[in-house]
Symmetry: C2
Subunit: 387 residues, 2 copies
C-alpha cells in the first residue's frame, strides 16, 4: 500500500538577481532577490511524491531517468521534510507513520530540458510541495521555502505565484532566509514574458561554481551586494506594488547587466551572454525606441537566453517586432493573430537574432503551485509511462 | 619658403585602462592608467609638420585625406603649441616668426585603419611631437604630454617609449595630468605583443561617448576608480620595475575585464567584447594552463581585438599555440620559424577564433617617438604622393 500526492510548480525568472552565497552549505545568499513566477500553462514541473513500507530505498526520477539521491542538497530537503512529519506523528499517534518510510519521487517538466531554462527551481519547489502534501504538513509556503532554499536557492521563490522576494535574512542557521510574496499574479495580471531560446551554446560555467568565483574574486561584487542591491530591492518592490512598468523594466535591465558585469569582473572571467544575447538587448532597446517609452525589459540568467517582460497592452508592438525577426522559429502557435511588424533595428542585430534563436516561449505571470490528481505513479508503486 | 619637421610616433596599448573623464573639455581622467608602447617597426604614425607665410589656412591631412581642423581638441593643441612658440619668439627676437604662420600637417599610418587599432593616440602624439620639432620647443616629453592629452587622452602616453603611466593629477586646469615614463623599453626588452585583429565588426559606441555613459550611469564605476585602480596602479608599476610577468599579466587581464564590466554595468549597456573576444580569452587561458604558469595576458581596448602580451622566452609556446589555430591568416611573415603547436582547447573556442580573426600583428615593446628625415611634404609645400 502506498501513499501519494502530486503537485505542479512553476518556473520563476529573477528580475533582481541572486548571485553569490554567504553560506554555500545552507544556500544563504549575499543579497535579496526578486522574481516573477511564470504561468504553469506553459512551463511547469509535475511531481508525484509517494511513500510505502514496501519501498526499500529513496528514489528520484526526473523526466524518465533515475537520479542520484545522495547529493547533500537533496539529502537536506528529505531530512527537513521528514523532521516536520515526525513532529506531527509524535504529537498525534493516530497518524500513519510515513516519516520513516522510503520516498519515491517522480518528476516531469512540460518543457524540453534542451531549452536551457533553469529547471532546478521548479524541480525543487515541486518536490518540496509534493512531499509536504504527501505528509499533510501544515507549514506555510514561507516556512516551506526555507526547506526548498536548501535544495536550490532560487527554488524558494517558486513556492509562490505572482511577484516574489527572497529575503536573504541575517541568521547564521538560515532560519530567516525565505521567500515572501510581494504581490499575487492578480495584482498585476497584465505581465507577459517572451523567452528567446538560444540555439545550442554549451554553458560556460555552472551557476553554483560561478557565483562563488565571483564572490571570491570580483572587486566590484561587494559594492553590488552592499550598496546597489539594497536600494534596488526597495525600488523594485515599490514598482511592483505601484504597477509602474517603466521603473520595473529599467531596474530589471540594469540588474541583469550588473549581474553579468560582476561575472566579467570575476577571475577568470565568466561569460553567460553571447553575441545573440547582445543582439537581443539591442532589439529590446529598438522596441522601446520605436514605442517612445520603456515597454519591454530584457533579463538574462546564467545563460544566453533572453527573457523579455512586457505588459499585455503592448503585445502587438513587442511580439509584432519579434515576429518580424523570429517569425519562422517555433513557439508562435498560440499567437497566430499577432502581425509581424518590422521596427527600425540595425541589420546586424536582426540577423544575429534570426540566426541564433531556435524558439520562442510566450507566457505570462502565473500562480502558486497547484495540487493535482494527475499522478506519475501507479497504485502499486510502479512508474506510469512517461510521455 | 616653408619650415618643416617630421617624426614618427608609436601606438600604446593600456594594461591599466583609461575609462572616464572627470573633465571632458580638458580630457582629465577619473583614474591613473598604464600602457606599454609598441615598436614603431610594426605600428607607427609618420607626421610632417610645416608652416609658411604662404599658407592661408591650417590644414591637416590623414592618410591622404584632408580633415576638418575646427574640432575643439585639435584647436586646443594648435593653440597650446603656438603659445609655447610665441614665448620663445618673445624672448629671442632673432628667431623666425613661425607661431603666427599657418600650419600644414600631413600624417600617415603604416597599418591599415581597417585593423581597428586606436590610431588617435599615435596620431596626436606624432602631431604634437612634429610641431614641437618644427617650433624647436625645449619642453620635455612630460610637458608636451599635457598638450597631447588635450588632443586625445591616451595620446599623452605615446610621447614615451617603454612602460608609461598617465598620472591623472589633481589640478582643475589639468597642469599635472601628464604622462611619465615608468621604465624604458630597455628595462624590460623581452616584452612581446600579439594583436589578434577581428574581422569586420562595426564599433558599438565610440569610446569618447561610451566612457561618459559609464561615468554617469554605472553604479560600480565609482568603486573601480576610487578603490580598485589606485591599488592596481601601484602594484602594476612595481611588477614592471620588478619585471614580474605573472603579476603584471594577472593585473592586466583583471583590469581589462573590469573595464569591460563597467561598460556592461552602464545604461544602456556598452559592449566591446564579442564572441571572438571571448574565444581569445579562453585560448589565452588554455595557453597558460598548458604552460602551467601565467605566460600570456590578454587585454582589450574599446573594441573586440585582443592584444596578448608575453615574454620573448615563451614565444614558441604562445605563438606556436596561436599559429596552430590562426596559421592561415596574414601576419606571420616575420615569424616563419615558429612551429604551430596545438594545445588543449575547447573546439568551439578554436573554431570561433579561426573564423573570427582576419590577421595577426606580431610586435614588441618599443621606444620613444623618433625624428626622421622622411618627409610627407615637398619643398614647395605640396603633399608628396601618399603610398
Amino acid at each position: 500500500m502506498i501513499h501519494q500526492a502530486s503537485t505542479t510548480a512553476p518556473v520563476n525568472i529573477a528580475t533582481l538577481k541572486y548571485w553569490g552565497k554567504r553560506d554555500p552549505a545552507l544556500n544563504l545568499p549575499t543579497n535579496n532577490s526578486i522574481s516573477v513566477t511564470l504561468s504553469q500553462d506553459d512551463l511547469r514541473t509535475l511531481t508525484t511524491a509517494s511513500c510505502s513500507p514496501d519501498f526499500t530505498q529513496d528514489e528520484l526520477w526526473l523526466n524518465g531517468k533515475q537520479e542520484d539521491v545522495s547529493g547533500k542538497r537533496l539529502v537536506a530537503c528529505f531530512r527537513e521534510l521528514r523532521a516536520l512529519r515526525h513532529k506531527m506523528e509524535d504529537s498525534d499517534s493516530s497518524l500513519p507513520k510515513l516519516a520513516d518510510q522510503k520516498l519515491k519521487i517522480v518528476s516531469e517538466n512540460n518543457f524540453p530540458t534542451a531549452a536551457g531554462l533553469a529547471s532546478s527551481a521548479a524541480g525543487f519547489a515541486a518536490l518540496i510541495r509534493a512531499v509536504a502534501n504527501l505528509y499533510e504538513l501544515q507549514e506555510t509556503p514561507e516556512q516551506l521555502s526555507i526547506v526548498a532554499r536548501q535544495g536550490s536557492g532560487s527554488a524558494c521563490r517558486s513556492l509562490y505565484g505572482g511577484y516574489v522576494a527572497w529575503e536573504m535574512g541575517t541568521e547564521s542557521d538560515g532560519s530567516d532566509s525565505r521567500a515572501v510574496q510581494i504581490a499575487t499574479a492578480d495584482h498585476w495580471p497584465e505581465m507577459r514574458a517572451a523567452i528567446l531560446v538560444v540555439s545550442a551554446d554549451k554553458k560556460d560555467t555552472s551557476s553554483t561554481t560561478g557565483m562563488q568565483v565571483t564572490v571570491h574574486t570580483s572587486p566590484l561584487f561587494k559594492e553590488r551586494v552592499t550598496t546597489v542591491v539594497p536600494e534596488r530591492f526597495a525600488q523594485m518592490k515599490k514598482s511592483i506594488l505601484d504597477r509602474d512598468f517603466p521603473t520595473f523594466a529599467e531596474l530589471t535591465m540594469r540588474d541583469s547587466n550588473q549581474f553579468h558585469a560582476t561575472c566579467l569582473d570575476s577571475y577568470p572571467p565568466i561569460f553567460y551572454l553571447n553575441d545573440v544575447s547582445r543582439a537581443s538587448i539591442r532589439v529590446v532597446e529598438a522596441i522601446n525606441k520605436a514605442a517612445g517609452a520603456t515597454i519591454a525589459a530584457y533579463t538574462f540568467d546564467a545563460g544566453p537566453n533572453c527573457v523579455i517582460y512586457y505588459e499585455d497592452k503592448n503585445e502587438e508592438l513587442v511580439l509584432g517586432a519579434l515576429k518580424a525577426i523570429l517569425g519562422r522559429v517555433e513557439g508562435w502557435e498560440k499567437h497566430q493573430s499577432v502581425d509581424a511588424k518590422k521596427i527600425d533595428v540595425d541589420e546586424r542585430w536582426e540577423s544575429e537574432l534570426a540566426n541564433g534563436i531556435q524558439r520562442v516561449i510566450l507566457t505570462k505571470v502565473g500562480g502558486d503551485p497547484v495540487k493535482t490528481a494527475e499522478s506519475l505513479i501507479n497504485e502499486d508503486g510502479s512508474l506510469k509511462n512517461s510521455k
